[in-house]
């Protein structure tokens, strides 16, 4: 039974494919359970024989994602933000077989944003050649100040592979945020600019699906763990 509980625990979960298998089985269980008791028992037996080896209960702790796997599917497929320099639309999804980290922030943020960006930088250092398949897109929530002159230079101090995304208008920013359930605001209070933004980094696959979310404060070892799992999964399924 402990296995059933881990499925509800957001932090420690199985890989994405394991979760899928489990919810499919749960569906079968519920449908069969409605008919009669004998079939319900058969379904329970089927689940215990199939779900156990697949579930996150196995001893290999290394196979678990340490970020948060969103319970409902989030997808940024088809959502684009203007990339600078160049001004072309960048679609928020990874290249084939890769992972794209999407982060909402602003450059005048010396506390939260660099903490996450440095952790990402160090996580990439820890995964060797896999790091070549990790891309980063930072969407500024403060496009008034973070111009094409500033954001790319800011990002280049953390990584050499990035996309500096500067929303051309408010609608563009909001549609990107909506895809992830993110919010932000920039207001002026007593002449001071006050920026509110989310601290989460979203990992998106090559279909635009959010496969895991990293909350603020997740360390580089945990990030390296998640990247390794996600990238290896993508190699195997190819």
């Amino acid at each position: 039974m402990a296995c059933l509980f881990t499925q509800d625990e957001p932090r420690v979960t199985g890989t994405v494919s394991q979760r899928w298998n489990f919810s499919l089985l749960l569906d079968v269980f519920i449908k069969l359970g409605m008919r009669n008791l004998r079939q319900t028992i058969l379904a329970v037996l089927a689940i215990s024989s199939l779900a156990l080896p697949l579930s996150a209960c196995s001893q290999e702790s290394t196979s678990s994602l340490l970020g948060y796997v969103p319970p409902s599917q989030l997808s940024s497929s088809g959502v684009s933000v203007t990339e600078q320099p160049g001004g072309k639309a960048f679609e928020l999804k990874a290249q084939e077989g890769e992972v794209l980290i999407v982060y909402f922030g602003y450059t005048n943020c010396p506390d939260v944003c660099p903490t996450t960006l440095v952790a990402i930088k160090n996580a990439k250092k820890k995964i060797g050649a896999l790091a070549e398949r990790v891309d980063l897109a930072m969407i500024t929530v403060d496009p008034q100040r973070d111009t094409a002159n500033i954001l790319p230079r800011y990002l280049s101090s953390f990584t050499d592979r990035f996309h500096a995304l500067i929303p051309a208008n408010d609608a563009e920013l909001r549609s990107a945020e909506n895809a992830f359930g993110a919010t932000s605001s920039v207001i002026t209070v007593d002449g001071k600019i006050e920026v509110v933004h989310g601290g989460t980094a979203y990992l998106v696959d090559d279909t635009g699906m959010v496969v895991v979310q990293w909350p603020f404060g997740l360390d580089s070892n945990s990030m390296a763990n998640d990247l390794t799992i996600l990238l290896n999964e993508r190699t195997q399924t190819k």
Binding site: D111, G198, F216
Partner: protein, 167 residues
């Protein structure tokens, strides 16, 4: 003026480190052993700062942040911070606060309570000394001098190394 404060801080540091040694192995509060010499007089406020660092400022931004752990032998308050104008034009004490969901924002705080015997941490995602309008980028491997202002202990000057992440 600056030299005297530095001297006081240095002597304060050595007093605290000696008292720290003296308290080793004892189950009672270290205050009992150190104040024994003049037990009637109230303890002189002494501040020790450890683990201090300031974040290397990325190119293209003129904001910086400094972090540290503050220890005091008496209840005190950090009421402000200062750096030389050759480093940054303005220095404030800030807190990053969490709002709804994962939302975060920084705001200035008037003071941070420092409780005697309890380390007060200034760290990423919480309290920090905010360096605004940096005159030049904070370069890895260099140091800056930060003056912390306490309600009781007065000015405490700390040498802060520039690092990429917390030591």
């Amino acid at each position: 003026m600056k030299k005297t404060t530095k001297a006081i801080v240095v002597s304060a540091l050595s007093i605290v480190s000696i008292s720290g040694l003296a308290a080793c192995g004892s189950d009672t509060e270290s205050a009992d052993t150190t104040v024994a010499a003049n037990s009637t007089a109230p303890a002189t406020p002494e501040i020790t700062v450890t683990g201090q660092w300031a974040r290397q400022s990325p190119m293209a931004t003129d904001m910086g942040a400094a972090y540290m752990t503050i220890n005091s032998n008496v209840d005190d308050e950090l009421v402000g911070a200062m750096v030389d104008t050759s480093v940054a034009e303005m220095t404030q004490v800030h807190e990053t606060i969490m709002g709804e969901g994962d939302s975060m924002k920084m705001q200035e705080v008037k003071k941070i309570d420092v409780i005697a015997g309890t380390p007060t941490e200034l760290k990423a995602g919480g309290y920090h000394v905010m360096l605004m309008k940096l005159v030049k980028p904070l370069e890895l491997g260099t140091e800056i001098s930060v003056t912390l202002k306490f309600a009781k202990a007065g000015d405490v000057v700390v040498t802060v190394p520039i690092l990429e992440e917390a030591p």
